[in-house]
Amino acid sequence: MPRITVHVDGTTYTDDVSARTLLVQYLREHLGRTGTVVGCDTSNCGACTVHLDGQSVKSCSVLAAQADGHEITTIEGLSGDGGQHPMQQAFHDNHALQCGFCTPGMIMQAVDLLSDTPEPDDQQIREGLEGNLCRCTGYQNIVRAVRDASRRMRAGAEAEHTGETPAPRSAEERTAQPTGGQS
């Protein structure tokens, strides 16, 4: 059994794990960090997404042994200080989750997306989240949330909108544009 030392959400753990233990199993079953979830067995759903040294990975396709000596951030450690990361706030404010099962992975992937592309357009957001499936939301509000988080994070103002109702939609979002007659 390999012995590994992993830093997870700010805590260091040293453990003996069996060679076949997946990182996601290690997080959930050994460390009790059940915020990260498993949605599939073919690396398609992205529900298990965490950050390994700041990069998003699907923790079901990484062995625990491969995380030896690395820094893992999960949804439970994302905000660091126990508050909420702007992405978490943006998901809440834009109703970007329903059942919430895809949400941890979706948020971790979205944070990674913005660190590569701080000002993505909608198409870049959609493509950047392609590895994460959501069955509930139809993705529209997830795209909105990522756009919103991008604005907040660039403004550095993490709490610029914390009112009880969601940010007002822009005019073109509220009433759709007629799209005809462009040929």
């Binding site: 915020g35 809440h92 109703h95 329903q98 059942c99 099962f101 994460n132 007629p178 005809g180």
Partner: protein, 816 residues
């Protein structure tokens, strides 16, 4: 006393549920671990139809960490038969449905053995060491040939693959005329056969069950939509005392009907936990979900429509073959029947007949999936209306206008015998046309056709309605359903003025905690944050019918409202006593009882405290401010809407791109617009997925070839467009809130809008149908007029291969 400044009803409150979901502080069933807990793994049949000749578990039993290995034979006497609550006809044929196969397997994925071990990994390892010998029986895969006499049988003891035939005939029911006459006299007849492909609900949280038998009540944690139904059914089918079972649905990660079930695994985990006397948990892999959790849809629909040349439809005949799969699960037989009352949709047809034959095949059982019977019906009629429009060379919206129920005609009793209480199809359609730019798009379409552009534009229409708010108990009774359709709620005003609302619905993503808080806060006059909504545990919420069928708000929300009103009436007596006035002198608003014409009064929380101390209560008033109510709706509710879809079809590649999607839904009064919009988005995604991407495909041996999320194409963010949503608001008159239900609307409406658009884009090539999912290959072949010959070729929308036998090829892009 605080009061809410802005009314809660109609306010886009952000959800109370989110805080723990966005931070990972969740309680999914699989997150739980109890002391001494064993892990259960289930061995599944790799073959679709076979006799089990031997099962050797000796090696598995010796493996590390293995506590028990159990086969169907071991539990044959205890496991009972899984319940089917909906015998649609008196003579319905229903096979025994053991949770674990004993001597025969009837679909690939059926449980044949199980292992309990110290760890999940050890349990799975031991499955590999179990040796099962099968003696193959003929597989029965195609629903049309299965229905023929002489077909090999799924259940030989039944003597046929036909489970039941259910009919509705307007001439017999006295709700309309004779369809045969209408068809004989028709100026125009349109006949089509549509295939509702088999779908997989694909909720994101795999199912999980944890059973703890170590206390007085056996506690069952399950990722279920229906904790109350599960408890009663476990008691009935296992003969365990109902009061000795507690069911908890913790956080549940989506359901869409897929978790409206009493599953084999729930029973098996229960049996194993009882056997071992320790907690046992089963969590499925995604591959298990795909083969063993019930599937949805899967019908062959034959329709004949009679009309006059002016576009007036005079009759509709519908013949369905519905694929049950191998067994009748909880409500399997009733799913197509739910659609049987809806084929006439928003239209005034003179005559209507519906015949559905339910057929067994050796495939995963089907059951509820978002919409459950109604998407199938809506798809068929909305496709037919477009086909009629094409036949008459009339605008598809105009054909609908000529047939729909005018706004002045409500309430309207349809040819299927349902009374629609309200609606305004003109308003929703008008708004949708405007948002969509209908006329401009038609003009662009004409220009592209004229230029013979490679990329053609298609416009699809769907003006739908659905019956929601399941359900008036007496109607369920008349449809032979095994339970009522009421819902229950309790309100408790605590001594400090905080409010607990207990509801019998069981949310799993719908935001009921937020919406119910809004409902009650407004009515009782306490802040939104002072309301706690309790649900999903039979010990906390003792009565309920759970969540499905867009019923929660229109039935469960109404129960909450009724219970609140009772609390207020109770408080009124105490307040009158406190203020030494007559009850009639009191007016209640914003949480305060005021004595009319004075400035004297008392707040509800003071009344709650007075009730709690009970030092001075009026005669006969009990010392609390609690009340409960059960609401049984008088009628269904009928949300409706107009969905318009524009697609671009590349005629060289068959690729379909949704260019714009506009929907205007009328779901009645809206409690929380944010949540309603989210429900519509999610519904649209699933309906569009049926039109373009998803299909559960079996190979010729009956193996599901789309058994992973790599093969079964749940759409990603990149596959879906931005939707334009709007609403009109016509109050339902069937409930005090005026609400109609929204959970299924998007799914029901969108599939025909998309397929109509695809067909419209290529109709000038002679195409009058494209089978779902409209994958590039299918669209391309439809354009090229290639028919059945290549239907077993790989499909983008169908995983590895599309299994089709029998006479179904004709619907693939007929050229004429």
């Amino acid at each position: 006393m605080t009061s809410t400044a802005e009314p809660e009803l109609g306010r886009s409150r952000k959800r109370k549920e989110d805080a723990r979901l966005v931070t990972g502080a969740t309680r999914w069933t699989d997150n739980m671990a109890l002391p001494g807990m064993m892990h259960l793994a289930v061995l599944r049949s790799p073959v679709a139809h076979a006799r089990i000749t031997s099962v050797d578990t000796s090696e598995a039993r010796r493996m590390s960490g293995v506590r028990a290995v159990v086969t169907g034979t071991d539990i044959a006497a205890d496991q009972g038969s899984l319940p089917c609550a909906w015998p649609i006809t008196e003579d319905m044929r229903s096979p025994q449905a053991p949770p674990m196969a004993v001597d025969t397997v009837n679909f690939a994925g059926e449980a044949v053995a199980m292992v309990a071990a110290r760890s999940a990994a050890e349990a799975r390892d031991a499955l590999d060491a179990i040796d099962v010998d099968y003696d193959d029986l003929p597989v029965v895969l195609d629903v049309e040939s299965a229905a023929q006499p002489g077909s090999p049988l799924v259940h030989t003891e039944l003597g046929t693959n036909r489970s039941a035939t259910w009919t509705f005939d307007s001439a017999e029911a006295g709700t309309g005329g004779d369809v045969d006459r209408a068809l004989a006299d028709a100026e125009v007849r349109v006949e089509r056969t549509f295939r509702q492909q088999r779908l997989i609900p694909a909720f994101m949280e795999p199912r999980s069950v944890l059973v703890d038998p170590t206390s007085e009540q056996i506690t069952v944690y399950s990722a279920t939509q229906v904790p109350h139904i599960l408890r009663t059914m476990l008691a009935m089918s296992l003969g365990v005392d109902e009061h000795k079972i507690r069911v908890i649905a913790p956080d549940v990660g989506g359901g869409f009907g897929g978790k409206l079930q009493v599953t084999p695994e729930e029973v098996l985990t229960f049996l194993m936990a009882r056997r071992l006397g320790c907690p046992v948990k089963w969590t499925e892999t995604r591959s298990e979900t795909m083969v063993s959790a019930h599937h949805g849809r899967d019908q062959v629909q034959r329709l004949a429509l009679a009309a006059r040349r002016d576009g007036t439809v005079t009759g509709l005949n519908v013949e369905l073959l519905a694929d049950m799969g191998a067994y009748l699960r909880l409500v399997t037989p009733g799913i197509p029947i739910l659609g049987g009352l809806m084929f006439n949709s928003i239209y005034k047809f003179d005559s209507y007949r519906f015949t559905c034959t339910n057929v067994f095949t050796t495939k995963t059982p089907t059951d509820a999936y978002r919409g459950a019977g109604r998407p199938e019906a809506t798809f068929a009629i909305e496709r037919m209306m477009d086909e009629l429009a094409a036949e008459l060379d009339m605008d598809p919206l105009e054909v609908r206008r000529r047939n729909w129920i005018d706004r002045a005609e409500f309430p309207y009793t349809t040819v299927a015998g349902l009374t629609y209480d309200s609606g305004d199809y003109e308003a929703a359609t008008g708004r949708a046309e405007e948002l969509f730019g209908y006329r401009q798009l038609r003009e662009e379409q004409a220009r592209r056709r004229q230029r013979a552009d490679t990329v053609q534009l298609g416009i699809g229409v769907s003006t739908f309605t659905e019956m929601c708010g399941l359900a008036p108990s007496r109607v369920l009774g008349s449809l032979s359903y095994g339970a009522g359709g009421w819902e229950h709620a309790q309100i408790r005003v605590l001594p400090t003025g905080k409010v607990e609302l207990v509801t019998g619905v069981s949310p799993h993503g719908q935001g009921h905690v937020t919406a119910w808080s809004q409902l009650v806060a407004d009515r009782i006059g306490v802040p939104f944050d002072d309301v706690e909504v309790l649900h999903g545990d039979t010990q906390i919420s003792p009565r309920g019918m759970d969540t499905y069928g867009s019923r929660s708000l229109s039935v469960g929300g109404m129960a909450a409202v009724s219970a609140t009103d009772r609390v207020i009436e109770k408080a009124r007596r105490i307040a009158a006593h406190m203020l030494e006035c007559s009850e009639d002198d009191l007016e209640f608003s914003a949480g305060r009882f005021g004595v009319r014409g004075t400035d004297r009064g008392t707040g509800i929380s003071d009344v709650a405290l007075a009730a709690f101390t009970a030092h001075d209560l009026p005669e006969g008033v009990e010392p609390n401010l609690d009340a409960e109510a059960t609401f049984d709706p008088e009628n269904f509710s009928f949300p409706h809407g107009t969905h318009l879809c524009a697609v671009e079809v590349d005629t060289d590649t068959g690729e379909v791109r949704i260019r714009s999607y506009v929907c205007v839904d009328d779901v009645g009064t809206v409690v929380n617009p944010l949540i309603v919009e989210g429900q519509v988005h999610g519904g649209l995604a699933q309906g569009i997925a049926q039109a373009l991407f998803e299909e559960a495909v079996h190979d010729e041996d009956g193996t599901l070839t789309t058994a992973t999320l790599a093969d079964y194409l749940v759409p990603t963010a990149a596959d879906l467009p931005e939707f334009t949503t709007d609403r009109t608001e016509t109050r339902a008159t069937s409930n005090q809130l005026g609400v109609k239900g929204v959970g299924e609307a998007g799914t029901i409406a969108s599939t025909p809008a998309v397929v109509n658009a695809v067909v419209d884009a290529v109709r000038h090539f002679g195409v009058d149908d494209v089978r779902m999912p409209c994958s590039p290959q299918r669209v391309w072949r439809a354009i090229r007029g290639v028919r059945a010959s290549s239907e077993t070729a790989p499909e983008a929308g169908g995983g590895l291969g599309s299994m089709e036998t029998g006479g179904f090829a004709g619907s693939e892009g007929d050229l004429r």
